[in-house]
């Protein structure tokens, strides 16, 4: 009897240890194995949604943004290369809307073609040749305008794995005055850009806008000029 009990105990222990000897991975491997059911389940879409919901990192309600910007003209007078340095003030009413004022100081140099034409005219004059022509340019000196910015879409940027910055894509439209060599002329602008909110107080913008104005030729006639301006700015949010 004692021997039988001992044998039974050994048999029981062996069955227990052999079950324990199986890796748990084998047990885990039996999960999710029925392909037919998986396909059936996949066909039923519960239409649940998970979204990432975050607050804006930078509050833009009733905040003033002051900026300095630098830009270059593309188009306009073919005999001039113009760039601009300016300042801006924007009042953010809410994250979707801001109103602002821009001032630009333009600096002009003759383009290659413009320089060539002037040099040609100068050479002709020195040689006493009558009837030569030189380009009729009316340099933009400065401009100022009021703008409205709308920020319809947003996104965020991974800054070299160091931090995350949110940005808004914006549309802008504005009207102002252009100071030319010949006098002043109204100017209109429309465009868009990307405003990157680096921190609660530092901002940067990249912008491309169309601007139009009329300049004045020597004979008093006006000419409509269409320019595209690409600019970048750094700002401080108060």
């Amino acid at each position: 009897m004692k021997t039988l009990n001992t044998l039974l105990l050994i048999a029981f222990l062996c069955s227990g240890t052999s079950a324990l000897a199986e890796s748990l991975l084998d047990d885990a491997g039996t999960l999710g194995g029925n392909k037919e059911l998986i396909n059936k389940a996949r066909a039923i879409d519960p239409n649940n949604r998970v979204r990432i919901v975050q607050n804006r990192l930078v509050d833009r309600r009733w905040r003033l943004e002051l900026g300095v910007n630098y830009g270059a003209f593309a188009g306009g007078d073919p005999y001039l290369e113009t760039d601009q340095l300016g300042g801006s003030v924007d009042l953010h009413v809410n994250p979707m809307l801001s109103v602002g004022f821009r001032y630009y100081n333009h600096s002009n140099t003759l383009s290659t073609e413009g320089q060539r034409r002037f040099d040609e005219a100068q050479a002709a004059r020195e040689l006493g040749i009558e009837g030569g022509s030189r380009p009729d340019i009316d340099q933009p000196l400065s401009s100022y305008m009021g703008v409205i910015n709308l920020y319809p879409t947003y996104g965020k940027l991974n800054l070299f794995d160091y931090s995350v910055a949110q940005f808004d894509v914006y549309l802008l439209g504005g009207v102002g005055q252009m100071q030319l060599e010949s006098g002043t002329a109204p100017t209109y602008t429309a465009g868009g850009g990307l405003g990157l909110w680096l921190s609660n107080h530092f901002t940067t913008r990249i912008e491309a806008r169309y601007q139009t104005y009329e300049d004045r030729a020597f004979d008093g006639s006006t000419r409509g000029l269409d320019i595209t301006i690409f600019s970048a700015s750094l700002g401080v949010m108060l």
């Binding site: 885990a28 389940a41 975050q54």
Partner: protein
């Protein structure tokens, strides 16, 4: 004037003779017959402790002094100053007759121990009542590491309450005991008693117990009493930098389940089961995720969870099985090598964390074994460096003189081995416990799958309308919403919001 000068000179000479006499008296227990012994004493008095340690044996060879408590305590002092404080304190407190140690040596030790309690805490020492008489109660209490109590023990509450009545407790001791009392009371369902302890600690400006530990304790206490809203409020306060944060997300999800808020549970679990946290997350998060998906009849998600379960946890299960069943594996060797060479924190184990028990770094017992092991390894190396160029430590044998550097090095290695074994014992216990958890969760996942199979067979197309749960994604110009993609941005963790639908209900016409 001349008389005054002579008197002043005489006073100065008398004072210096007096201090010399005092000094001689203070060190009269030290043998100075031989020039080498005088030199040794000079080294000690001048603070050249490392040199003194190197010359100890040769200077005092054959002297009966070395067998005295004075000599042993003084030698251990030199060892402490030479950069082996943990080993030195273990040797010191193993001396059975501290009352025979000369006051000069005792005062040297008191200065070191009053600022070196951290080293003594890492040592495996028990400060006996004989030592308490020599060092004083306050210093002894400072040196004794706060004990960890068996919180579910029937007598623990009374023991802790009795300890807390002592007026001589330091602030740290009181805070620690209060925390232990709170935990014991929670486990033993004395809710009000537990709550009072935790709130008392929270409201005081104490720094002994981390606030995250208190928030978790209060959250669990509230959960235990069925106050799930209060529990959720406490869970929200656990800061992200706390090692308990991830666990708080999972437990908060459970609270939302209890409140029948599967959408909020889903949002919490999106963080808890994020691939970023795979090395740190356990099987219960996956089970809970599948359970919540079952609540809302999201069957495809259940199969997604169960299908990925094995791949997700394979490395950990293999690691746990290795720790539970063997001793000399590559994992054990890597673990010990990390303990010996790097500070004891989670980041040091980054390469092994997927194979080790979850939250092993929070286990107080394992932590103490690891600390001791590391101290012995580091101090052993320091002793070896001390002796560099003098006697080769590779020549250590069990016959080396007791106070030789070879013997000290040998002792550090033996103690390191012992702590290593204790650490492995604890790892084995933790691994077995976690394997049991895996076993249980796998069984529960099988049950969930069985339930899904039954429901799919009953209602293959899941006819019937799904009512949308209340909790729409908030819309505001101050809120940004992004879709969840496979790429996880760290700033997005813990910013999830779920809109889930109820299980479909077939509306039948009735007469």
């Amino acid at each position: 004037m001349k008389t005054l000068k002579v008197l002043t000179l005489a006073l100065i000479i008398a004072a210096s003779f007096s201090s010399m006499a005092e000094d001689k008296l203070a060190w009269r227990f030290f043998p100075t017959k031989a020039p080498a012994q005088k030199e040794l004493l000079k080294l000690i008095k001048d603070g050249n402790y490392r040199q003194a340690l190197l010359f100890w044996n040769t200077s005092l060879s054959g002297e009966s002094f070395v067998e005295t408590a004075n000599a042993k305590a003084l030698f251990d002092f030199l060892l402490w100053k030479a950069g082996a404080p943990v080993l030195a304190s273990e040797r010191l407190f193993s001396l059975r007759s501290p009352k025979y140690i000369h006051p000069t040596v005792v005062s040297l030790w008191k200065v070191e121990l009053s600022t070196g309690a951290e080293a003594v805490h890492k040592a495996k020492v028990n400060i006996s009542s004989r030592w308490k008489k020599v060092l004083g109660t306050q210093l002894s209490r400072k040196l004794q590491r706060p004990p960890v109590y068996a919180l579910s023990g029937a007598k623990t509450l009374k023991v802790l309450q009795k300890e807390l009545k002592k007026k001589s407790l330091t602030a740290d001791e009181r805070n620690w005991l209060t925390f232990q009392l709170g935990l014991a009371a929670s486990i033993q369902n004395k809710h009000q008693l537990a709550y009072n302890q935790f709130v008392r600690l929270l409201e005081s400006e104490q720094a002994t117990v981390d606030k995250a530990d208190l928030y978790m304790a209060l959250a669990r206490l509230a959960y235990q009493q069925g106050e799930y809203d209060a529990a959720i409020d406490w869970y929200k306060q656990v800061p992200k930098k706390s090692p308990l944060w991830l666990e708080s997300k999972e437990e908060r999800a459970w609270a939302h389940v209890r409140l029948d808020e599967p959408n909020k549970a889903v949002a919490q679990l999106e963080t808890a089961t994020s691939p970023v946290f795979t090395p740190l997350s356990g099987p219960e998060s996956d089970f809970l995720d599948s359970f919540v998906s079952l609540m809302i009849c999201d069957y495809s998600k259940i199969f997604k969870i169960t299908g990925k379960f094995k791949a997700k946890h394979a490395v950990r299960i293999k690691g746990l099985e290795t720790l539970a069943k063997t001793r000399n594996s590559a994992l054990h060797n890597q673990f010990v090598a990390t303990v010996d060479s790097k500070p004891i924190r989670l980041s040091s184990f980054s390469k092994l964390v997927r194979s080790l028990p979850r939250d092993f770094i929070l286990d107080e017992f394992l932590h103490r074994h690891m600390e001791h092991r590391r101290a012995m390894a580091v101090e052993g190396k320091r002793i070896a460096r001390l002796n560099k160029g003098a006697v080769s430590l590779a020549s250590y044998t069990a016959d080396a003189p007791e106070d030789s550097l070879e013997a000290i090095y040998g002792q550090s290695q033996v103690r390191a081995q012992a702590s290593g074994k204790e650490a492995f014992d604890r790892l084995e216990a933790l691994a077995k416990s976690e394997l049991e958890e895996f076993r249980l969760m796998i069984r529960k996942l099988h049950i969930v799958e069985a339930e899904v199979i039954q429901r799919l067979h009953l209602d293959e197309n899941l006819k019937g309308k799904r009512a949308k749960r209340e909790n729409p994604v908030p819309r505001s110009s101050d809120i940004l919403t992004f879709p969840v993609t496979k790429e996880v941005w760290l700033d997005e963790l813990d910013s999830y919001h779920a809109e889930v639908k109820d299980c479909p209900k077939i509306e039948r016409a009735s007469l």
